[in-house]
Symmetry: C2
């Protein structure tokens, strides 16, 4: 892991990020790696928003992981700011290497530096390996996660 | 429900909002309705952020409900923007009146108008009544919700 870098994503990283989003049992049905247009528009919006941190993990010029951290201010818990983690992906060649732990630990450390009182995320109920992973990192599966597609 | 208004919250609404946050089995232990200072700071941050919609439901000049809607752009699902709902509270006198449905339906309609492809929220596993409520409104309890306190 010596030369691993975690940095904000740029447009040059998009093909690798979208390939990782699509290389997934759930993502395969809902991504379009052959047409990056909608992803470019979303990246511009993310880059313009100071509360958004879309990052990639890079080793030897290869993008091998990604996640999105969103800083969410709020009133509850005495005006606590929370961090939301979405779209965590590790390249297939790197799974089991400990990279996921490094990436989530980066998200936790960054959330703390940004003054967040809590990190939260949801994980599809089918991803039972991921649930054990998050529990090992100290996350508490205290909530039901509801989604409504529009 | 004739004269119900749902509008962005202002500093004048804070005492009523914080009282609702505190009047809750979980909120009672974690809020400070006698000291609004941290809430005022958080409200300023929310008001300055165009992706934040902290709203109150008002009837006859009384604040009787609140929720926070956060617009979260992202890459996954072909660059889909999602809406996150947090801190839903209905005044004790108004529970069972249908106000919760009106407020969540407002969140769904507003999310759609803002171009979101999905609305998501988490609910503490102890809030089983809330889970039935969200299921009735079309939400799918498809995810585990993980939290890590910092």
């Amino acid at each position: 892991m010596g030369d691993l870098e975690i940095r904000h994503a740029t447009a040059d990283d998009l093909p690798a990020i979208v390939a990782m989003l699509a290389d997934d049992p759930l993502g395969a049905q809902r991504e379009s790696p052959d047409d990056l247009t909608p992803y470019l528009a979303a990246l511009e919006r993310l880059t313009a928003d100071p509360n958004q941190h879309l990052v990639v993990a890079v080793r030897e010029d290869r993008v091998i992981g990604t996640l999105q951290l969103t800083v969410v201010p709020g009133l509850s818990h005495k005006g606590a700011t929370r961090a939301l983690v979405e779209a965590v992906r590790i390249h297939a060649d790197e799974r089991g290497s400990g990279l996921g732990t490094v990436l989530i630990q980066w998200a936790i450390d960054t959330s703390r530096q940004l003054g967040c009182a809590m990190v939260q995320l949801t994980s599809d109920k089918s991803r039972t390996d991921a649930h054990r992973f998050y529990a090992r990192l100290g996350f508490n599966a205290s909530h039901e996660g509801f989604k409504l597609k529009l």
